[in-house]
Every structure is written in C-alpha cells, then in structure tokens.
Amino acid sequence: MSGEEFVPLSLTPMLIGVLAAVACALPGNFLVLRKQALIGDAISHVVLPGIVVAFLITGVVAAAPMMLGAAGAALVSVVMIEAIRRLGNIEPGAAMGLTFTTLFAAGVLLLEQSDTSSVHLDVEHALYGNLESLIWLDAIGWESLLDPVALAGLPPELGRVVIALLGVCAFLWLFWRPLVLSTFDESFAQAMGIATNRVGVALVMVAALAAVAAFDAVGSIIVIAMFICPPAAARLMTNRLEHQVGWSVVFAVLSAVFGYVFAGYGPLWLGFDNAVSAAGMIATVSGIILAIAACFAPHRHRSGAPAV
C-alpha cells in the first residue's frame, strides 16, 4: 500500500485507535485487579446523558463542553452508585446496574425529546463511534509528517486522545505506589497512611477521563472492551504487575491495529466491497486475544487451583 493512500486515510484513525486503546487499558489493569471492571461499563453508558445535557445547555456540538458534560456525568454516576449502595444497603453490582441503566435511559429520552436531528448526535454514533471518518485530508504521503501546514490539519480528536493518554500515564507514574498498595492490601495501605478511598475515587476519575476522550473518538464499545479485555488477558500471562501492565499495552495495540486492518481491508480480501465497523472489529479482536490467553496463557489458572 502506498503512502499517498495510507497516510491520509488510515494512519490517523489507526493511531487514534491505538492511543485510545492504550489510554483505556492502563487504568483498566487496576480496575480489573480491584474487581471494579464494570465501572468502565457504567461510565461508558452514562457518557451519553452527559453529552446530551452538554449539548442542550450550550446548543452546539463542540468538544470542550461535551467532554465536560461527560466527565460530569461520570462523576454523578459514581456518586449515585455510592449513595444508593450506602443509603439502601444494596450490593454494589445491583447499585451499579440500576444507576447506569437509569442514566442511559434518561439520556436516550432527552435525545428523543430535544431537536437534535440537525446535528450529528445519536445513540448509534455514541455506541460505534466514527473512527473511520477521522481522516487526515491535508496529508499527501509520508512526507506530510514533516510538513507543518499539513500537520495543522490533523483531526482534533488525535490531540485530545494524546492528552488523555499523557494524563493517564502521569497519574500512574505519580501514584504508582499508593495505587499498588491500596489495590493489593487495602488495610496495609491505610496503616501506611494512604487515603485509600481517595485513591479509589482518583482511579475512577482517571478512568472516566480516558473513557471520555476515547469515547469522543471511537465510541463506547471500544472503551468497555479496552478497559477489560487487554488487562484481563495480561492478567493471565504473568504474576507481576509491571509485566501485566506491559502485556496489556501490547494487547491493546495489537487489538487496535489488527482490528482496524481487518475492518478496513478484511472484507476486501474476502471479495466484498464495503468495510465493516472498525470499533466493533477492534473489540472483537481484543476478545479473540483474551480467548487465546484464556486457553493457553501460562498463568491462566488460579494459584493453588488444581490443573484441569
């Protein structure tokens, strides 16, 4: 494939897919270890009402208010889950399911009630994203990577995903020790003077940041899949956290690259004309990786469990 075709049409979507996948997989490691994997699921559902409310307030489809709205919705949902759990003495899973379905229903209803037909805002878009449309029209080939004029025309989603990824990395780097301690031994972490509750909330907020930035570019399916599948597969590969994080990044990148390639070019190889959903295909590939890991990975059994 020539650079003239690849750079404008496929490079940026692929890059955005990879960066979004990594940004979600990194906090996903801790969510999976803390048995909070479904927080990612909940966040990605409540992002919809968040952006709808942001749209209704500002009246424009712009990135900044929507990201704020989505982040606000994530915060509201976390508070709501916690409040329902404590006030009603309800188990966390049910509180979570109750919260995110209600908020999602409210989002759908708001969307139907308001006149959003003129703008590109609908439930399908929120679910699938529009990875394929994030093309770089100013590019003419590999040499455009060094051309400042063409670089200015990069899709803005790329910048936001990069910022989110940097934010996630900075958070993990700064709070690595408290995060690890409070994940594996909460009471020891408390004895060491770490505010474990605040660490937990901070982790969820960072996950929300990654989810919102990724959601903006690639839709909510990838967000849920990348929060859970690469870290889960990585968990089966190793017993060391550092290695697990490394494996999860590798799996996230593999899923994004192969998912995008299969979606864009797979049907052509099979003799069909049209590409299929890249977001769905990336999620599918991550599932295949997880399935392979679950069958063959060296540390797939529980420690102490008899070999089956």
């Binding site: 048995k35 009603g88 899973g93 229903a105 859970i228 049209n274 599932g287």
Partner: protein, 401 residues
C-alpha cells in the same frame, strides 16, 4: 388521555404495547429477583449485550435461505443462542481461569456487542434497506408491534413465570445458602445456569419492546425496589412482579399519549421513580425510617445521659440534652431539675446500679447480655428478680458513729 392509555382505550397498537410491556415487566421482575438474591444482577448485562450477534447471524441466515430477515421468532431464536454462548463464556472464564466474574462479564458483553456491531455493518452492505429495523433491537421499538409479536411476548412471559413457580424452592435455597443447597443434592452449577437461562428468556422476549441495553434495568430495578418492603422471598417475588408490571404499564401508557417518548426509557425511568420512592419511604429499610430511628435513639441516649448527670449533680453542657429535658418537663432551661426530674433522675441512677450488679453476677448472664445502656431493666428482669437485687443494694442508711 393518559387514563385512556392505562385502560387500553387508545387504539389497537397502544393496547398491544401496553399489555405486552406489562406482561414483560412482571416476568422480568420475578426472574430478576433470584438473580439479585444470588448477587449476580450484572450477569444480565452480559446476557443482554450478547444477544446482538445472534440477531445479526439469524437475519443473515434467514435472508440466505430466501426468507424475510425480520421474522421475529427467528431473530429471537438467534438472540437466545448467542446469549447462551455468552453466558457459557462467562461461567467458563470464571471457573476455569483466575479472572473474577466482573471481568468475565465485561469482557463477554463488550466483545459480543462489538462483534454484533460488525455483523450489523455487514448486513447494511448486504441488501440495501432490508436491514432497517435491526438497530431497533438496541433500544427497542414498539411502533410497529404486531399481534404475533405480542403473542410471542405473552407466551414467553407465561412460560418463564411457570418455570419460576416450579424452580422457586431450589433457587431460593441456592440464593441464601449454596453449600446447604449442594448438601441437599441440588446441582449448584446447573441451578445457577437455570436462573441465568430464565433471565435470558426474559431478555430475549424483551428485546422488541425495550431493547437490549435497557432490559437490564427491568431485571435489576424491581428486585432492588421490592427488597425494601419485605424480608421474605415469596413476598419479594410478588412485590417485584407488581413493581415491574406497574412500571411497564405506566411507562407504556405515558409513551402512548406523549409523542417522542420511546417506551423503553420511559419504563426504566418510571421503575427508577418507584425505586426512589421505596428508598425514601419504605418501613424499616427506607431512608426516612432509618433516619427517624436514629433520631429516636439519639433522644433516648441524650435523655438518659442527662438524667444520670442530674442525679449526680453534674452540670449539663450539651444544649440538645437540656432542651430535651426541658421539653419532657424534667429540668428548667438553666439545667436545674424539676421535682419530676429529680424523681426520674434518682430512678435512672438506681437502674444503673441495678444493671451494674446484674452484669457482675454470673447468674444473670443471659440478662446481662441484653445490656446496651438504654434498655429499661424492667423489660429484662421480673419484679421478683429486681427486688432481690434491690435488697443487695440496700436502702439509704445513716452514717455509723
């Protein structure tokens, strides 16, 4: 107008939708009860998302075989098969690998859903226009509901209810004490799968009305609501059915009279409204009841501490205590006891001394276990026992010279 919708006088389609939704609400609530009691409410999320690839594959197969791709029974069959596969994946991942159940649920729901989306885009390119309507399984669409669709929902709902009726005892046992259930000879793994299969059945028949994302709410919210009102499983099942049916009935009615009100989300929001009302108002477990209980407890503690302080002639600095004593007519605003207050204070101090002896005496061990600082000693011991203790305390005596 709204009343007309509720009483089924708003035309053929609205009537079908209302009846279908109400039946679905009852079936979903009843099934969800056991899912909730087993603490696996979110498995329904994996089940519902995993229906999508089945819908896609069923559509493609039916088109390839030359039929109409949108025949509801075929699509529902496909949905049931693929979400069964998803369910098996969840339990396989949980049992055979070190992954915890939430990770397994999340992985299955996102991967199956993603694959379903891939299939939907394939279908879109297969035959122009014919796939229109498959997206409606995401959020449900009641506008074009046919009589046959309503029959499928009613029949499926009735079968589910019968199955719950048959399996209710082993399922209850499993929910509360899995080890005991296993010891009684119940195959725990299989019974778990049976609970899931019932949830799956409800999910599949609910796809048409509320769609796969919101059916989860109909399985989770009514049981959580009902849990506030009762401590008994059989009552809970009935209340859950009531809540689920009521929410669906009101929701379907609302969506029939108001334009641009999709049925699924409205049902979920009505259901949530019932939940909030129960959370606040339910007796015993409701927030209001808990708050009132707390206030009453606080009053008793303050009154008792105030009386003990009065009896020992100590000053009371706590404003709330003084206010309570004054309201009860036991003290003046400056904290000086009234005549009645002196009597009550003396009694409180005497009771305290009685308790001290009771707690020191092995013979009263069981009574002493009930001591919490607030309980009236008369409610624990008989009059004879109390007078026996009083003899040990003895009456007031002069100073021996």
């Amino acid at each position: 107008m709204f009343w007309n919708a509720l009483t089924l006088q708003l035309g053929y389609n609205a009537t079908l939708v209302t009846i279908g939704a109400t039946l679905l609400g009852i079936a979903a609530g009843v099934t969800g009860t056991f899912l909730y009691l087993r603490k696996r409410a979110l498995v329904s999320d994996a089940i519902s998302h995993a229906t999508l690839p089945g819908v896609g594959i069923a559509f493609m197969l039916m088109v390839l075989l030359g039929g109409d791709g949108r025949a509801l029974p075929g699509l529902l069959l496909g949905a049931a098969v693929s979400s069964w596969v998803g369910l098996l994946c969840v339990s396989w991942l949980t049992q055979r690998t070190r992954l915890s159940e939430d990770a397994a649920i999340g992985a299955v729901l996102s991967v199956f859903f993603g694959f379903g989306i891939v299939l939907l885009t394939v279908i879109q390119t297969m035959g122009a226009g014919r796939a229109a309507g498959l997206e409606s399984f995401l959020l449900g669409a009641t506008a074009g509901m046919l009589f046959n669709d309503a029959l499928v929902i009613a029949g499926g709902g009735a079968l589910t209810l019968v199955a719950v009726l048959i399996l209710r005892r082993p399922m209850t046992l499993l929910a509360f004490d899995p080890e005991y259930a296993a010891a009684r000879g119940i195959n725990v793994g299989r019974m778990d799968l049976a609970i899931m299969a019932l949830a799956l059945a409800v999910t599949v028949i609910g796809l048409k009305i509320v769609g796969l994302i919101l059916i989860v709410a109909m399985l989770i919210i009514p049981p959580v609501t009902a849990r506030f009102w009762t401590e008994r499983t059989d009552h809970m099942v009935m209340i859950t059915g009531l809540c689920g049916g009521l929410a669906a009935w009101i929701g379907a009615g609302l969506s029939a009279v108001a334009p641009a009100m999709p049925t699924g989300p409205i049902i979920v929001l009505v259901s949530f409204g019932l939940f909030v009302a129960s959370l606040l108002l339910a007796p015993n477990r409701g927030v209001l009841a808990v708050y009132l209980r707390h206030v009453r407890f606080q009053r008793r503690v303050h009154l008792r501490q105030g009386l003990l302080a009065l009896a020992q002639g100590q000053p009371i600095y706590e404003a709330y205590t003084v206010r309570l004593l004054k309201q009860a007519g036991l003290a003046h605003a400056d904290g000086v006891p009234t005549e009645a207050g002196r009597a009550r204070a003396a009694k409180a101090l005497r009771d305290e001394k009685r308790w001290e002896l009771v707690r020191a005496d092995q013979a009263f061990e069981s009574a002493a276990a009930l001591y919490d600082g607030l309980r009236d000693i008369e409610t624990v011991l008989t009059g004879d026992q109390i007078s026996e203790i009083d003899q040990r305390i003895g009456g007031p005596q002069g100073v021996a010279s």
